[in-house]
């Protein structure tokens, strides 16, 4: 944490203290998408912003030491496939593509509403990873002065 890349000391220290809170709130929003406002889209953006917080405050080198960027690429591609897998499981078990084949549970419980919860998680991973990676690529893109 000694390199000069990134922002000033104040931003770095506040990021260090607050990044777990942002991540926890994003995951909370994803997991309660079927009970309260929010869901996979909103929670995914919050997760992406938590990672971006570290990227903007500490710079690229620190972030690439912390996260495995190649793995995030794989995760992003895999989540789109997982959505399809859940849809095809719906054909075999519920009779239609993306049918809600899991148990409905009781209203207002966390594990309820069948496939809505897994789909929310898949969408959260998808949205979060892709938005983080876009800014990652944009931040690494340096324009060299043409002549």
């Amino acid at each position: 944490m000694q390199q000069n890349e990134g922002m000033t000391l104040i931003v770095k220290t506040v990021t260090r203290i607050s990044v777990w809170m942002i991540l926890l709130y994003g995951i909370y929003i994803i997991f309660h998408g079927h009970l309260t406002p929010g869901g996979g889209f909103a929670g995914g953006v919050i997760v992406a912003l938590a990672f971006l917080n570290v990227l903007l405050a500490y710079g690229r080198k620190f972030t690439s030491d912390w996260l495995n960027i190649g793995f995030l690429h794989d995760l992003e591609a895999a989540s789109a496939t997982l959505f399809l897998v859940i849809g095809i499981l719906g054909i075999s078990m519920g009779g239609a593509f993306l049918a809600n084949f899991l148990t409905k549970g009781e209203l207002f419980a966390l594990i309820s509403a069948g496939t809505i919860l897994p789909l929310n998680i898949v969408i959260g991973i998808k949205v979060g990873m892709s938005l983080f990676l876009v800014v990652w690529v944009l931040a690494g893109f340096k324009i060299e002065k043409g002549d």
Binding site: G33, G39, L56, L98, F108, A113, V135
Partner: protein
């Protein structure tokens, strides 16, 4: 105070902010003004009883701000003085758009008044949504259960857009490649 008056106030602020965003010379001021418009949309969603959308719109605003600042700030940006023909074209466009607005007033008069919706098909979702899917959030039950195909298409579009952005940024421009080859040769 009824919802309608609040919305009129927010919309007027948004129109002023969007005109300011388009006409200001400084690029950072434009981006901040666009932020005002987006937060106005988010606030209107809260007044219109759509908390899901308000959250997503708010986050969208933060994210768009980061992308725009990261991409456009620090580039040497030259403001070109508008030429004569551009001024004439802008004037013509304003006249045409005003004409469109005046003619469209009569179309909007055909609509039902604010607060009495046109669409009634969604009554089924309101009545049976919780029983059919077991989710308390009916918006979530629509996007991921009744209309999950839409979400599948949406994920595909997002995937393609992000992939497109990656590909565009990874392509090395022709001149730069030649330059690097030249510099390698000289080494």
């Amino acid at each position: 105070m009824p919802v309608e008056y609040w919305l009129i106030f927010i919309l007027i602020v948004m129109i002023i902010a969007s005109i300011a965003a388009l006409e200001m010379d400084d690029i950072l001021s434009s981006i901040v003004a666009i932020g005002i418009v987006g937060l106005g949309v988010s606030l209107s969603f809260l007044f219109l009883q759509a908390p899901d959308l308000a959250i997503v719109q708010f986050l969208f605003e933060i994210f768009a701000l980061i992308i725009l600042v990261k991409a456009f700030l620090g580039k040497d940006y030259h403001k070109q003085a508008p030429s004569r023909i551009n001024k004439i074209l802008a004037g013509l466009t304003i006249i045409t758009l005003t004409a469109i607005f005046i003619f469209s007033v009569s179309v909007f008069e055909l609509l039902p008044p604010f607060g009495e919706p046109l669409m009634t098909t969604a009554q089924y979702y309101l009545d049976n949504g919780a029983k059919d899917t077991g989710a308390a959030n009916l918006v979530s039950s629509i996007i991921l259960d009744y209309r999950a195909y839409d979400t599948l298409g949406e994920i595909t579009v997002l995937f393609t857009a992000i992939l497109g952005a990656f590909t565009i940024l990874r392509i090395k421009s022709k001149s730069k490649k030649e330059n690097s080859e030249l510099s390698n040769a000289t080494k």
